[in-house]
């Protein structure tokens, strides 16, 4: 019985440690990678997985050691895995829109990052001056 308990504890502890290490690595990537596009990788998948692990640990903890089966945290996990790629996608979209510098070693030269000759309009021209109906 005690062994089983220890095993369970071990599983939970594993998920916890693994999750937090992943999350740390994800944030580390965010902190130290060279350009935005590279920084994006860490948080968008590694951190997500890390938190996923912690959520699994929580499920395990409450199901195994506390009040019986509970899968509530699964919902958060699923939610994170659905939304994280979308956030990453939108972020890189805006980065491309802003033509953020990429690391010089990056191969490929997408049109999004090429300088175009669009005239830059001044910041604030009062255009919407007509009254609403």
């Amino acid at each position: 019985m005690i062994a089983l308990y220890t095993l369970m504890e071990g599983i939970i502890a594993f998920f916890l440690i693994a999750g937090s290490i992943f999350a740390l690595i994800g944030s580390l990537g965010l902190a130290r990678m060279k350009d935005f596009y590279m920084r994006l990788h860490g948080p968008s998948k590694i951190s997500t997985l890390g938190v996923g692990c912690v959520l699994l640990a929580s499920i395990a903890y409450f199901s195994l050691l506390d009040s019986g089966p509970s899968l509530q945290e699964l919902l958060i996990t699923i939610f994170l895995f659905i939304t994280a790629p979308v956030s990453a996608h939108l972020l890189s979209k805006s980065a491309l829109h802003q033509k953020l510098e990429r690391d010089p070693r990056t191969r490929g030269n997408p049109q999004e990052l090429q300088e175009d000759d669009d005239e830059h309009t001044s910041e604030e021209s009062p255009q919407g001056s007509s009254k609403l109906p």
């Binding site: 939610f79 659905i82 939304t83 979308v86 996608h89 939108l90 979209k93 805006s94 829109h97 802003q98 033509k99 669009d118 830059h120 309009t121 001044s122 910041e123 604030e124 021209s125 009062p126 255009q127 919407g128 001056s129 007509s130 009254k131 609403l132």
Partner: protein, 932 residues
């Protein structure tokens, strides 16, 4: 009751002329005259009794808190004045009927006149100091209307304003004086006051009270140095001048001296203040009367002089002087009113009152000339006329006054000088107007005025003569009664007779008349002397002073209220710092008795992050989006702090609100500049940093002090009663929807109003729409990124489900209507973000305002529902219901209340965000729309 009639009839009379029309002037005048006439009859009916020593009084309690009673009296003094006011008033009504031009609005004139008459009667009959003051101020107000009657001209307007300002000031001083007297005596009842002379004179407050009362009296009676308003008030129509500035209003001041004589007189202060003021005024007025060119100005300054004379007499602290003063009031009223009317007739007939143009009018208007001569002679103190009598009495009294001690001879000497001048200007008035050659440059040929215009003058002239000839017969009774009322002890019988034998006063009178003649003959030398001094128009000086005052106030206000919100905020902050700082300085130790808990590393990290983000929000504020991101960090940290310290509901709410706030701020930021220009000076920044630091320090100190002190609070009750009394395990939620549901009702009302108010604000908003971002990049053409659109549609059902979950759990676990509402709203907003307003609007068939309002309605009606069971508003009820198949179910009315909260939050939030989004979108220039 008849006393009330005397006052109220003219008041009623002020309404009657308004019934008449400007066209039917006769009728109008008759209507107006009716009421004072009846009042006069009533008075006459009372007269015998009063003369016999009765004092009819009447009192109704009005405002006990103020010491104000509606109390009237008709003693001898009152009677004298009532007769004057009503008698001359009636003559004025008659005179004005023929004097006013067709263009003048006669009903209005009469209405003002009667209002004035009422207030005058009130003054002289008031048996209560406060009541007297009320009527006193009313005379200022009604005279303001009368002086400014010819409002299309500048002079009357300014003259009226000046008169009001001066007499108004005096009135306010008078009130202060009266209150002091009332406090000394303990009552405002006139008789009590009059009987309390010893108490009053012994009180240290006597002098201030006296000064204040005299200020009131002197301003009203145009005593030096307040005389300047009276000549300017001559811009009024002549009937007004005749009534107000000869017979009545200016007499209110001297009346007051007489009225309060028993209570205030007898002291050295009184003697010097009153009689010297009177003496100076008498001389001043007489001198200027001689130098004026306008008939009415001459009369005005003459009035000033005569009022000075009366004041001086009242100041002498002598019984006979009092008699003389009262007698002169009567005499002056008659001859001066007549003279004013004469001046009016001349003006009426010749179109001018300039004494240089008028000459030899006796040819054209012999009757008027005769009347003017008689009355002017009376003014000059010519024997056999009433003016002579009182003037001689004055000279007699001037000989007997103890004033000035060793220099006491100065008084009679100066009085004689004044009499000389008086005789001179009277002579000048008559001779230069009616005799001395032929008129020049008159606009029209003068002829005798209509009889009815002359009739009042005639009546007054007759009075002058009759009283002058038979003083004992006509005036003694009245004067005795009046003096009686104005004295502490029974008054001596005045011996009014024409002949007192050869004595010093007679000599002085003779000197005065002869001297007057001499001065008149030599007047050009005097005028040459007078011309050395620059003439200063008191009106211009006054207007100038007022304008400078106004400009100063404008400068002061503009300097103080410079339109800078920064300054206004600064004041609030400084005020808060001062009061809180001062209070904190009074605390011995900030730290209370409670042991502090140790901070875990995680908490330290959290605190550091929070502080860092907070500071960054402030210091990066010029880059607004970054500042906003930092604000988000603070918001997130705040909710984590709430979570850490056992406040899950707060954490949830803070989180949801923070996200919505940031979205809102970003929506707004689209139209505002993306960056704040660098504009604060270094000193400004230093100042603000110091202030902010001070404020933060105070907040932190307060917070620390509170955290380290034990608290004995009412919260235990909520913890104990949440489950048994409120039917919920989540105490915070039970407080929100039950214990303090009323707060929540107010809170959702606020939210609902905010939504509606914002809808109002967004209405017809003109916006500056940037076509590119702050770096000058045109916006991305991809309006609705596909992947976002695709994912968000699948998140909506999930979010709705979660909100139902949070809503239902709220009563027993963290959650509740508010958070559920925000989750729903945020999910719907995501739809707007992903697909746009148009798309979302098509799919949401309901409007938001009704939803938000319905939420409030549901919450309120849930509360009203408890009435049906005889409980107060918002009493909750809950119960466990066993439903087959489902099992035990707990239902609480609080849930219904929470539903209201939910709906309000959804409705209001969407109203704010969706409407804002809509406004911006419909302004997006079309060429920008789909560029790619």
């Amino acid at each position: 009751m008849s006393l009330l009639l005397i006052v109220l009839l003219p008041l009623l009379g002020s309404l009657l002329p308004l019934l008449g029309s400007n066209q039917r002037r006769h009728q109008c005048a008759l209507l107006t005259a009716a009421m004072p006439l009846i009042a006069l009859l009533v008075t006459l009916r009372e007269t015998p009794g009063v003369l016999a020593g009765e004092v009819p009084r009447l009192a109704f309690s009005w405002v006990p808190a103020l010491g104000l009673d509606l109390a009237l009296r008709l003693d001898g003094l009152s009677l004298l004045f009532v007769l004057l006011i009503l008698g001359i008033g009636l003559l004025i009504i008659l005179y004005a009927r023929h004097y006013l031009a067709e263009a003048d609005n006669m009903p209005r004139f009469y209405a003002y006149l009667m209002l004035f008459m009422t207030s005058m009667l009130g003054i002289v009959m008031a048996d209560n100091l406060i009541l007297l003051w009320m009527f006193w101020e009313l005379t200022s107000l009604s005279s303001f209307l009368l002086i400014g009657f010819w409002s299309h001209q500048s002079a009357p307007r300014k003259g009226a304003r000046m008169a009001l300002a001066v007499t108004g000031m005096g009135g306010l001083a008078l009130l202060a004086g009266f209150i002091l007297i009332g406090q000394i005596v303990g009552s405002f009842d006139m008789q009590t006051v009059l009987d309390s002379r010893d108490v009053i004179l012994a009180d240290p407050r006597y002098l201030p009270a006296l000064l204040l009362v005299l200020l009131g009296a002197f301003t009203k009676s145009a005593q030096f140095p307040f005389q300047f308003w009276l000549p300017q008030a001559m811009a009024a129509p002549t009937p007004v001048s005749a009534f107000l500035h000869s017979a009545t209003m200016v007499k209110a001041g001297v009346f007051l001296l007489a009225r309060l004589h028993p209570a205030l007189a007898g002291s050295q202060e009184w003697l010097y203040l009153v009689s010297l003021t009177g003496l100076v005024t008498m001389l001043y007025g007489a001198y200027f009367a001689l130098t004026k060119l306008d008939l009415k100005a001459i009369l005005a300054y003459s009035t000033v002089s005569h009022l000075g004379l009366i004041t001086m007499l009242f100041g002498f602290n002598s019984q006979m002087a009092l008699v003389a003063g009262l007698f002169h009031i009567l005499n002056h009223a008659t001859f001066k009113a007549a003279l004013f009317m004469t001046a009016g007739i001349v003006d009426h007939e010749c179109g001018t009152r300039d004494i240089r143009k008028l000459k030899g009018l006796w040819r054209y208007m012999p009757m008027t000339t005769a009347l003017a001569t008689i009355t002017a002679a009376s003014m000059a103190g010519f024997p056999l006329l009433n003016g002579f009598l009182s003037k001689e009495m004055m000279l007699t009294e001037s000989l007997e006054t103890p004033l000035l001690g060793g220099l006491a001879w100065l008084i009679p000497a100066l009085a004689t000088v004044a009499s000389i001048l008086s005789a001179a200007y009277a002579l000048r008035f008559v001779r230069n107007t009616f005799f001395d050659g032929k008129p020049r440059d008159l606009k029209k040929t003068p002829h005798e005025a209509p009889f009815l215009l002359r009739l009042p003058v005639l009546v007054l002239a007759i009075v002058c003569v009759v009283v002058g000839l038979f003083p004992a017969l006509t005036a003694t009774g009245l004067l005795t009664a009046a003096t009686d009322a104005a004295m502490t002890m029974p008054a001596p019988e005045p011996h009014l007779s024409i002949w007192h034998g050869f004595n010093l006063p007679l000599l002085m009178s003779t000197i005065a008349l002869l001297g007057g003649l001499l001065v008149y003959v030599l007047r050009q030398h005097l005028f040459a002397f007078h011309r050395q001094f620059a003439s200063r128009d008191s009106l211009a000086i006054f207007e100038n002073a007022v304008q400078r005052l106004v400009r100063f106030t404008q400068w002061a206000i503009d300097t103080l209220e410079n339109g800078s919100l920064q300054r206004y905020m600064l004041w609030v902050v400084i005020s808060a710092l001062v009061v809180a700082g001062m209070s904190l300085m009074g605390i011995e130790t900030l730290k209370g008795e409670l042991a502090t808990q140790e901070a875990s590393p995680l908490i330290i990290v959290g605190a550091v992050i929070t502080c860092f983000a907070g500071l960054a929000t402030a210091f990066l504020h010029r880059r607004r989006l970054i500042s906003l991101i930092m604000l988000s960090v603070v918001g997130l940290m705040a909710s984590l702090i709430f979570a850490r310290f056992s406040a899950p509901d707060l954490a949830l709410t803070q989180l949801a609100v923070e996200v919505v706030t940031v979205i809102l701020l970003m929506l707004a930021l689209f139209f505002l500049p993306q960056k704040t220009p660098k504009e604060s000076s270094a000193s400004r920044i230093v100042r603000d940093v110091l202030l902010a630091a001070g404020f933060g320090g105070v907040v932190a100190s307060l917070n620390y002090a509170l955290l380290t002190r034990p608290l004995n609070s009412i919260s235990d009750f909520f913890l104990e009663n949440s489950v048994p009394g409120g039917g919920g395990h989540n105490v915070v939620n039970v407080i929100l929807v039950d214990f303090r549901g009323f707060d929540t009702l107010g809170e959702i009302t606020v939210l609902c109003i905010a939504g509606i108010g914002i809808y109002k604000l967004l209405n017809r908003l003109r916006l500056f729409m940037p076509s590119s971002d702050s770096e000058g990049r045109p916006w991305s053409p991809d309006r609705y990124p596909m992947i976002l659109a695709s994912v968000s549609q699948s998140l909506l059902p999930m979010a709705l489900l979660v909100s139902v979950f949070i809503f239902l759990r709220g009563h027993n676990a963290p959650g509740g209507g508010f958070i559920a509402g925000l989750v729903t709203a945020v999910a719907l907003i995501l739809m707007y973000i992903a697909h746009g307003v148009e798309w979302a609007q098509q799919r949401l068939s309901f409007q938001y305002q009704p939803i938000a309002v319905a939420g409030v309605a549901i919450a309120a009606l849930t509360g009203v529902g408890s009435w049906a069971f005889g409980y107060p508003f918002l009493t909750s009820s809950f119960g466990h219901f066993h439903i087959p198949l489902i099992g035990d179910m707990e239902l609480a009315t609080a849930l219904l209340f929470d539903l209201g909260v939910y709906l309000t939050v959804v409705g209001a939030t969407l109203m704010i965000l969706a409407n804002l989004g809509k406004v911006t979108t419909s302004h997006r220039p079309s060429k920008q729309k789909e560029k790619a």
